[in-house]
């Protein structure tokens, strides 16, 4: 539980449950009554129902320890990220593939193994399957995406399960015609990256030829948004983030209004494991609590929400390492537990031929199951943080990437933003798309 002063009324406090995400405005007199044990039954009921009064703290700890496994069971869905290639038609200055980039493509044989792996380990065991096709640029492997999706769609139907897929794409090849062909095969959404207004985006994300890619992407977005609701991602640096609100205005002027866009999420360019990063690029961040990042994240979130676009609310962030059925499949069939680990020796967790091996120790799965973390109010929001950032900072996944400093600096304002804009949306009768 976190407690913040109420800015308009000193007689009340804002209570936020990091476990249930409940937000209450509580009179100070009620807090005093809770300490004295003189709450009314109604007060007791509201506080207990929302996770603020707990009968047995040891049971609450056990609940938190079980929560990820239970969420996965409830969902009944495996999430696979398939890295279709490490090639690209753009030449981004900070390319996340860096030194690994090249004409490396998934072969039809590996795609066949992927399909059979998904059938055997998920569909036939009663799970639905979602694949995020990823790269490089996944649409350079359009034939294989079609083939994998046709086969898994048919297998899912036969097993009485569901299959769908998403694209994580630079957006240059996702025309209306391509989307129209892929929707019947299971395409649900596409995450498209735009790094700010045209002059900035084109400097950071030009085509290999050097030409700007902004107009192509926005043109495609207009076509595609008639068929699916694309999400917009964007990578900013310390020098560019202040220009990003102008991108939102341009998108709205182009007809890409909040009702046509599933979400907008901007993120800082992050350092990747040393050997991957483009040698000439040095603006990436390695920590979640660098002061400029706190300012940039809050500023951009406010600008997104103010214009009526959806961005995720404060919610638990759980590393995919923690989910048994979340898996990254590299173009060569190697399995990983995080897209940032692809190609890194010692961080693979098996392959499509031999299956998954135990990664409990190599990925330090129990790092957050300590008294220190279990006593921390932030645990249900972070579950040990980002293994990549831990690895970058300390050279090994030998503990948690503690989020306390970053959440101390941002959580109150993030909650207030959520309250401000959900109230506005409710009044306007529009519910944010989730």
């Amino acid at each position: 539980m976190k407690q913040y002063p109420c800015r308009d009324n000193p007689d009340r406090v804002l209570l936020f449950s990091t476990r249930t995400l409940a937000k209450l405005l509580v009179p100070v007199s009620v807090l005093r009554a809770a300490e004295e044990g003189s709450l009314t039954p109604r007060e007791q009921d509201i506080l207990a129902r929302n996770g603020f009064l707990v009968d047995d703290p040891a049971e609450e700890r056990r609940e938190v320890l079980r929560s990820i496994g239970e969420a996965e069971k409830r969902g009944g869905r495996a999430f696979l990220m398939a890295v279709m290639n490490l090639d690209c038609n753009l030449a981004c200055t900070y390319c996340y593939e860096g030194g690994q980039r090249g004409r490396h493509y998934m072969t039809p044989e590996t795609a066949d193994r992927l399909v059979r792996y998904a059938e055997k380990h998920f569909l036939e065991l009663g799970s639905d399957v979602t694949i995020d096709f990823y790269g490089g640029e996944p649409l350079l492997s359009l034939d294989l995406i079609r083939d994998i999706s046709r086969r898994l769609g048919a297998s899912a139907q036969q097993a009485g399960r569901g299959y769908r897929f998403n694209l994580v794409t630079n957006g240059t090849l996702l025309t209306g015609a391509v989307a129209a062909e892929l929707v019947p095969l299971g395409l649900r959404s596409a995450r498209i990256t735009i790094d700010g207004p045209p002059e900035i985006h084109n400097a950071y994300r030009p085509f290999v030829s050097g030409a700007g890619s902004f107009e192509t992407i926005v043109g495609n977005l207009r076509e595609v948004s008639a068929l699916i609701k694309p999400g917009i991602g964007g990578n900013y640096t310390k020098d560019t983030y202040r220009s990003f609100p102008r991108l939102l205005d341009i998108l709205a002027d182009e007809g890409l209004t909040p009702d046509k866009i599933a979400y907008v999420m901007f993120a800082p360019v992050t350092e990747t494991l040393g050997k991957h990063l483009m040698p000439e690029f040095s603006d990436g961040c390695v920590s979640a609590d660098e002061p400029w990042l706190v300012e940039a994240a809050l500023f951009l979130r406010e600008e997104i929400l103010r214009r009526g676009y959806f961005t995720p609310k404060v919610a638990p962030t759980v590393c995919m390492i923690e989910y048994r059925d979340n898996l990254v499949i590299h173009y060569d069939g190697t399995l990983y537990k995080c897209p940032a680990f692809i190609g890194s020796a010692g961080l693979d967790v098996g392959d499509l031929k031999t299956g998954l091996r135990d990664y409990t120790d190599s990925h330090n799965l129990n790092a957050w199951k300590t008294d220190e973390c279990l006593d921390c109010a932030y645990l249900p929001l972070c579950f040990g943080g980002c293994r990549l950032l831990k690895l970058l900072r300390d050279g090994a996944i030998d503990g948690v990437e503690c989020r306390a400093a970053s959440l101390d600096a941002t959580l109150e304002e993030l909650i207030l933003q959520d309250l401000r804009y959900s109230v506005k949306k409710d009044k306007a009768g529009a519910t944010p798309d989730k």
Binding site: K23, L47, R191, G234, M265, A315
Partner: protein, 33 residues
């Protein structure tokens, strides 16, 4: 004298964690291709 009431701005959920990782790769942009 009766105390002021608790105002529920947003109800809590028992299943706040989603079935899929909302991981740092999302938040830190590694999903932005």
């Amino acid at each position: 004298m009766e105390r002021e009431e608790i105002l529920v701005l947003e109800e809590g959920m028992d299943d706040a964690i989603g079935p899929m990782a909302l991981c740092c790769a999302v938040i830190y942009g590694l999903f932005n291709r």
